[in-house]
Symmetry: none
């Protein structure tokens, strides 16, 4: 299931893999998975073709490394963004914000994921879908907390989570047009947070106001 390598030194593996991951993201984004050659990736990474095959067993592995990159970022950064936060609304805001900004910093990978996931073997596709579901669960969990606390009107948490995810990924997918209309901050507020803000209960709305006046929640001025 995981990418395997011939070389044994684990530090070297880690270093080479990162080289190949970044090279893969660049090259596949520029040329697409099928048009890009393994040689293209090797050159971008500054190594020889032969070396590539010492660290991955397949061209598809290179794609998997690239697509997996952003997922790893989510799983590392969202939990750390939530660490120490207690208020459900603050946590939902933080998770959403973090998720959106990680996506925005990795536009190429987001686009690549939409374009090239189908190019992977079923086994890899399944794995990525599973990981995506787990990522979404990080947001869904925060939504559930807000529902439990009565801050949101009753709604399907999975659907709301998906709406947030879709809106966040769309910043990358439609960036060529959206960036002409709004800034990232505006977009996050009016197109991403707006999704759940529209579903705040009375209680939720009051809590938001308090959090804002206590300085515990920045932003949302225009929409909440």
């Amino acid at each position: 299931m995981n990418v395997t390598s011939i070389v044994e030194n684990p530090l070297l593996i880690e270093k080479r893999r990162m080289q190949l991951t970044l090279a893969g993201i660049n090259v596949f984004s520029r040329l697409g998975f099928h048009k890009a050659t393994v040689k293209d990736v090797a050159i971008e990474a500054g190594v020889s073709v032969g070396l590539v095959y010492q660290y991955v067993s397949d061209k598809q592995d290179l794609l998997f490394l690239a697509l997996n990159h952003i997922i790893r970022r989510h799983h590392e950064e969202i939990p750390s963004a939530l660490a120490g936060l207690e208020d459900p609304l603050v946590r939902l805001h933080a998770a959403t914000d973090s998720y959106a900004r990680i996506n925005a910093s990795n536009k190429a990978v987001v686009v690549l994921t939409y374009r090239e996931t189908k190019s992977l073997k079923p086994e890899f596709i399944r794995k990525l879908k599973q990981l995506e579901i787990e990522t979404n669960r990080l947001i869904e969990g925060c939504i559930q907390e807000c529902l439990d606390a009565g801050f949101l009107v009753p709604t399907k948490p999975e659907l709301l989570a998906y709406r947030v995810v879709i809106a966040a990924q769309s910043w990358s997918l439609k960036n060529w047009q959206l960036a002409k209309i709004v800034t990232l901050d505006e977009y996050i507020e009016h197109a991403i947070h707006a999704c759940w803000v529209a579903l705040l209960s009375q209680k939720g709305r009051r809590r938001i106001a308090k959090l804002q006046s206590d300085g515990l929640l920045k932003g949302l001025a225009a929409i909440a």
Copy 2:
């Protein structure tokens, strides 16, 4: 700019092109543009490889025909859905609904557009982007009418139009998960119409209520 053919009889061209378009959508969706062979498309269309090249000059042309299909549907059906409607909110509702349902009936093409647009030559990409902008303008126009009538609170019409478009396309893109959570009708109401309903002004909200009681606007019960 347009796909050209060697055969001269225009009726025959139209017929064959449609065959190839539908075959292209199926095959490219199943296998992806690069993995699919022209022979695959020919077989799916029930013709010979050679015949394909009498009606398109290129494998890329087949992809363009496929991707262009849904755009043609939008440009034919949305205006006809709006015909005779006068109230701005009714029109916005109709345009959005129509747009969403056309996308939902062509899930494969929507997905294909995201996956394979980059596989086209720049010239075709430009053409498709242009056509997409024109499609969006159909919705944007309705939004603007609502803004002019004071039914929506001030907002950027392009951004709102994009949010609707994104939500509608996402039904196809994330269908594998969304369909587990909601029906299409629910999704249209809670994820697509919800985008603009959340921005209704007092006046807009009142008008909606009236239209509903007059039977001029069906749906939106749960969110407006």
Copy 3:
């Protein structure tokens, strides 16, 4: 062995064959036999592809028609140029001159013969070689007459005939350069007739002088 046709009306056949012959010469000269398509020839001849196959059975037949064209010209025109001439040297001069000028009027076919003969099936190649030999014999015969009359020093008549033939064909083959250096008339005198003039015996030289002063032989002023 001969090109056969489906159509029966012999006049029509003759007319169509000539159309195709001329079209073939043009198209094959411009594009080469392999790059030219049967459709190209059909268009050049102003007919449909299907029609071509009513008058020839093969693409190769078209080439054969083209290459055979110049041979037919030789076999028609050289004998008629010799008709009524009696003096061996006058006859040799006339045959050579006629041969050279027919070649010069059909440069494209000469070039085509060198380039594309090998593209024919063995059976056609044999036929053409045979016809070429017969053509050469027309000149060789005149040389033999001159040898018998003692006008040329002993020499192999076949070799001399070939030298004349080669020189004549070279006007077409190297025309791009030769035409920069000399006119056709100069070339015929200095490069073609020169071949046999250099082999004139004393007797032959005297006879030439007499023929010239009698006005029975024009040209050769500069070399004989």
Copy 4:
């Protein structure tokens, strides 16, 4: 302009190129450029198809390598045949002889040049024409020296050079017939050297006699 390769080691390039050149000459001569497949050439060279494309970028490149082969031979061997020779007539004789024998040793390439030059892209055709002109100039130079020394009667050196060239190439072009009539040595004497011997001045004729009796010039016994 020149054939380029992906492989970097220049010795390997040289070796492989020579393999491909010789294979190309054989295969293209046997089958013609268009009928021959790249695979045919690869097999003849004892390598794989893929390897071919590491050393040439095109099927046409293979043809260019083949056609260029004889030109390289001329440019290497004629100057070395002239090295150390001083007498203009000896030099002309040597250049002509060398040129004729190189052509005779590369009959296949000579024929190929006539048949397939047009199959090359214009850029290559121009290059070959240029090189042919330069080759001819090697002979033309010797003719000019003889003219300057008064050994030949006034004549256009370019034309005489072309006549020699044509006669020499014709040994290959018409070999199927000429070889039945004469040996190469006879042909060189009676059909090639004969061209310029016929134009010797009195002075030239005397010099030839002297060179022959001094043993500085072998051959021409029968014609000078």
